[in-house]
């Protein structure tokens, strides 16, 4: 198993201990046992600096933005816009105009589907998604293709949980107008060859949205280098608050797209005989945004940058390799998702023990994992399972925590064996 990251930045145990100390929740006891948090794919924990940033905003600078002449409003506006600039630098976008703040990945994708999709798709057109997408990168495209008469086509996965570029080449035709693909699959851990897919799609004249909800905290993301047209992610999956997310879009595309939601902030002039839209990025940010969330996300990205995403990826590769090796020792365990390029996620089923029971038994040991269909029911169908258990890692997890997971799983097997 290899990671997408070539660099091998060594991480020592002392560093991990220091990182863990930044996350107060990691000191929690669950059912009298130290918390072992392996549900980072669902949401990540927050470092003290993010918690402090959010609470400082509410304590000392809370105010609405872009509309006050008073001091607090000016401070809040600057902080909010600084967060946008931090995000822009973090993903390597060319301009702040390309960074739209949303409530999360789901809203970012819906924005593109509704604004770009409704405006551009028509009968005879095709939208491509992969079989491994999260429901939030399937359903908005189903809704918009149904409304416009376009067709939704699916790039299949093999039994390792990978797509093939051959299939992509074959499915891309002059009818293909849009491709929506996850960077890192939440159900399988697969890292998709998004750069290659983007190149192929562009050659066929199609635009590409990359769902980076999972990838953002685990692998370096440079939108300019990827040359993706849109990139979506959520703050809460990269150590930031819930309710804040990002849509990156190429400026020329965003300029041409109509607003999705109407309201305050997204207009320049409102008259009953017609209104004029505001400039980017505000055209897509109707209403009072999640100001605390945006500022908190900025703090989270600064925190990640200070540690270094390469370092994070290197440590997580060690964790995942070790976890997969150890999981293979559990009697009756089948891994779901064995792609060559993987990160951060180990999904599996265990013979005679349902994922839910695994979840409950591990919980009694203080170990948090996810059990279910992971909002990826087509993936479950592909592998013929109703649910999987999923351990998903972050850089603050340790090899000892993997050992705890394995002990808990052996206990479950014993109980039901």
């Amino acid at each position: 198993m290899t990671s997408a990251v070539v660099s091998s930045v060594a991480v020592n145990a002392g560093e991990v201990t220091a990182w863990r100390a930044d996350f107060p929740i990691l000191q929690t006891q669950v059912h009298g046992k130290p918390l072992v948090y392996l549900d980072n794919g669902a949401t990540t924990q927050k470092p003290q600096v993010v918690i402090d940033t959010v609470s400082r905003y509410y304590q000392s600078t809370n105010s609405n933005i872009h509309r006050g002449v008073h001091h607090l409003s000016e401070v809040a506006t600057v902080d909010y816009e600084n967060a946008r600039a931090t995000i822009r630098r973090f993903i390597g976008a060319a301009s702040d105009k390309e960074v739209i703040l949303t409530s999360g990945t789901t809203e970012s994708i819906n924005l593109v589907a509704n604004s770009w999709g409704l405006d551009n798709l028509k009968t005879g057109d095709e939208v491509l998604v992969t079989e491994m997408e999260h429901h939030s990168n399937i359903v908005p495209w189903q809704m918009v293709t149904q409304r416009t008469g376009a067709a939704l086509k699916v790039i299949p996965i093999n039994d390792a949980g990978e797509i093939s570029l051959e299939d992509v080449r074959e499915l891309l035709t002059e009818r293909t107008k849009f491709v929506a693909i996850s960077h890192l699959s939440n159900a399988l851990g697969t890292i998709n060859p998004v750069k290659e897919v983007i190149e192929l799609a562009h050659r066929a004249g199609a635009l590409v949205l990359v769902d980076g909800a999972q990838a953002i905290a685990h692998t370096p993301v440079e939108v300019a280098e990827l040359d993706c047209d849109f990139y979506a992610f959520s703050g809460h999956k990269i150590f930031g608050p819930t309710g804040i997310g990002v849509l990156y879009g190429k400026q020329a595309l965003l300029e041409a797209m109509p607003p999705w939601q109407g309201g305050g902030d997204m207009i320049r002039i409102v008259r009953f005989d017609g209104s004029q839209w505001n400039d980017l990025p505000y055209k897509f940010e109707a209403g009072t945004p999640n100001i605390a969330g945006a500022i908190g996300l900025g703090a989270a990205l600064d925190y990640v940058t200070a540690i270094g995403i390469d370092k994070i990826a290197a440590h997580e590769t060690v964790l995942l390799d070790y976890a997969q090796q150890q999981l293979a020792t559990i009697p009756g365990l089948t891994p779901i998702g064995t792609a060559k390029h993987k990160a951060s996620i180990a999904s599996f089923v265990v013979k005679h023990v349902h994922a839910h029971d695994l979840g409950t038994i591990l919980d009694s040991e203080g170990i948090a994992i996810r059990a279910g269909h992971h909002c990826a029911m087509p993936v479950m169908e592909h592998f013929g399972v109703a649910a999987t258990a999923r351990a998903s890692f972050a850089f603050y997890n340790t090899l000892e925590e993997v050992d705890q997971l394995i002990l808990g799983l052996n206990k479950a097997v014993e109980m039901f064996g």
Binding site: H354, A355, T360, S364, G372, A386, A387
Partner: protein, 150 residues
């Protein structure tokens, strides 16, 4: 937190060897149930003769709690009238959602089912224990839509 309270031997046993498992071809009522949260899915088949349940079978896939609950249900409901089945489900459901206290009399009335009351300590698992029962209710009372625990 004692897992054995939840996974009592009888539950583990019914999960390992579910009773009355499989499709019933000669059936008066059947319904499919679904727990959208976890993807668990079950079909309950009943043969009812003059208001009396004479045969119950089930098939599907679920966790230990939902499988054991379904398996035990097939045994317990056999021979009961529809009214008795309704009353037992009502009591079981009220106990699981904490509307009814588990006193000696209630424990008596629940019989074997009492082993499933450990789920009260695990709110997210209550639906697992009631899926088969909801589905059975749907079959008996001919609810048209797919039965869902949501």
């Amino acid at each position: 937190m004692d897992l054995r309270e939840l996974y009592q031997d009888l539950i583990v046993d019914h999960n390992k060897r579910p009773r009355n498992f499989g499709k019933l071809d000669d059936t008066t009522y059947f319904a499919e149930g679904f727990n959208p949260l976890c993807g668990d899915q079950i079909t309950v088949y009943l043969y009812v003769d003059d208001e009396q349940v004479t045969k119950v079978q089930f098939e599907g896939e679920g966790c230990a709690i939902s499988t054991a609950s379904a398996s035990m249900m097939t045994e317990i409901l056999t021979g009961k009238t529809i009214a008795e089945a309704d009353a037992l489900f009502g009591l079981f459901h009220r106990v699981l959602i904490g509307e009814k206290e588990l006193d000696d009399e209630t424990t008596d009335q629940l019989g074997k089912l009492a082993v499933l009351t450990g789920v009260r300590a695990y709110p997210s698992r209550v639906k697992c224990a009631t899926l088969a029962w909801h589905t059975c209710q749907g079959a008996l009372h001919k609810k048209q839509d797919a039965i869902s625990t949501e």
